[in-house]
């Protein structure tokens, strides 16, 4: 009888501990991802970036842009080349809009549409909160890197699943692998070139996006990011956005 009781106790202990462990791992994963979000896309910031796009016919384009964020809204302003100066993208919640210099009204665009014909799509650049869009689960540890599976919270999120490799200690991302709903591995984003930026934080300054379907690459380089700078709230409204 004592044996039976201890067996039950043991089983219970095992069950509870594994539950706690999974909850803990979810907790851990969410914590890690939250830290990544805070580092890579603070609630409010201004960043200056360049995007290099390689095309099928061998031509190459470099765009200069600034990225601004205020909570659930983000803004991209194009600075170069001259032809694109004046182009803007605005994200308000789930909607993304584009404003062109020769068009009076802003145009609603899809999050999944490629930005400037490159391998970063609108969501990649404007939807910045992983915690908001995905639930996180820790798969394993590779040395000091956590391998976390992110599952989309709803259909509106661009990628159904992301496997993120993030440094446990700092929250600095190493690599994201993107998967569609059907499980197809479509893109991979590699982070490198740590750089201390104006607000004192050290972040990867080079983001290499490879499209595994078309075998093309685009590179986003963060020239600078500052969490202490931001645009006034009014700039994130549609009225101000269009002419």
């Amino acid at each position: 009888m004592i044996r039976h009781r201890s067996l039950t106790a043991f089983a219970l202990a095992l069950l509870t501990s594994s539950l706690i462990a999974s909850v803990a791992s979810a907790q851990d994963a969410t914590d890690i991802v939250r830290r990544t979000d805070a580092l890579m896309a603070p609630q409010s910031f201004e960043a200056r970036m360049t995007m290099d796009v390689d095309r099928d016919d061998g031509t190459h384009r470099t765009y200069e842009l600034t990225l601004h964020r205020r909570d659930d809204n983000s803004l991209v302003l194009f600075l170069a080349p001259d032809i694109e100066k004046g182009r803007k993208m605005l994200r308000r919640g789930d909607d993304i809009w584009m404003s062109l210099p020769n068009v009076k009204r802003p145009v609603r665009v899809s999050a999944r549409q490629s930005l400037m014909g490159g391998d970063f799509n609108n969501a990649d650049v404007l939807r910045l909160s992983l915690v908001k869009d995905y639930t996180a689960h820790l798969d394993k540890l590779e040395g000091s890197t956590a391998v976390i599976t992110l599952n989309a919270r709803d259909r509106g999120v661009t990628y159904a699943r992301v496997v993120a490799r993030i440094d446990v200690a700092t929250g600095i991302p190493v690599r994201y692998d993107y998967f569609t709903e059907s499980g197809k591995y479509v893109k991979t984003l590699e982070f490198s070139a740590l750089k201390v930026m104006s607000d004192g934080d050290s972040r990867p300054a080079t983001w290499n996006m490879t499209n595994l379907v078309t075998h093309r690459k685009s590179v986003m380089r963060v020239v600078d990011m500052d969490r202490n700078k931001s645009l006034p709230d009014a700039d994130y409204t549609l009225g101000r956005f269009s002419r």
């Binding site: 068009v103 145009v107 490629s114 930005l115 014909g117």
Partner: protein, 410 residues
Amino acid sequence: MRYLIRVALRNVFRNRKRTAITLAAVFVGIVVIIFVNGLLAGLHLSFNDQLTKGVLGDLQLQRQGYRDSAESAPLTLDVPLDDSLRAMLDGNDEIEAWSPRIRFGGLVSNGEDSAMFLGMAVDPEKERVVTPKALENVVEGTWLRDDVPNGVVMSEQLAHSLHLKVGDEITILSNTREGSMNGRDFQLLGLLSSSLPNAPGRLIVMDRSIVGPMLFMDNSATEIAISLRDPAHAQDVGDALRAKVSPRAIPLSVYGWKDLSPFFVDIMQMQDMVFGIVVAVLFLMVLTGIANTMLMSVFERTREIGTLMALGMRRRSVVMLFLLEALMLGVTGALLGLVVGGTVVGLLGLHGIPFAAPGTSGAALTVYPVISTTTVLIVVVFAVVCSLVSAFYPAYRASRLEPVAALRGA
């Protein structure tokens, strides 16, 4: 022979009514053939004219391989308008004018709703020379104007579906040659319709000086439409051009209007086939008409034939007699038919027949029936062959008669 001719002539006039009826059959048949042929020939000429002078040009240059993916309008398979190409086209004496065009797809919006459209960006000056008839398709407003560079003309169906009026402002969005999205506001200057069936209902024509840069195609085109000084030379000029543009670094293909409108080629072939059936039916009709008359004639004149043979006329001559009579009927009917039919076609050819084909949205095509020497030749041969064939059996029957039995009346 002269004797036979005289006898044949007399026999033909012997039964006036029957001769008249037979002549009528031949006459009607011939008039119908001439009229339908004239109409079809005129219609085909109209198609040719409308297509070459209103839409396509006499010849077109495109990048090799572009046509295979024409449905997706790929901007990357474009024709770069480099100096050597310009020099070659400008220096060609046979070419009257050449107009580079960019065909692309996109979304047009009236501010609230959007619709898909098929765009064509042109140089208005050059386009005016290469496709002068295109301007006739403007049913409201005006064509592109120099003082309004961001002006467009749009298919009236598309304009109606977006509740647009002439003068309204529209926004156009399209993917550029580089894959990025770009757009611009434009002004609606005019509405287009078409007199040809199968015309695109979502067409927007715009100025290439504005759209080219918008699509990152400042100095290239998806097609070059060419008009020739003498369109009749299209085949030869096309071949010569082909020899020059196929070996280029970016090889180009040369197309005639028939290559570019398989739809019309099919329609014309179908019409020709129907015409062929009509001719066959008429052939039978005329055939039976004459044959019937001749056969009756043989039965009625049995005694007469018997007499002739008894008097020494050879069977051969009897056959010849009947053949001559049939020939006279046939040729006279044909000549009458030619005269009347030709006059009708000639008069209509001056005035023109409005021909609104099914599926066209507006202006009716005017068809000018024509007659050609080929037609006349065909008609004459038709008449002769018909007559002879139809007379053959009766003449044969006549020649088989036995003089004695024939004299008795059997």
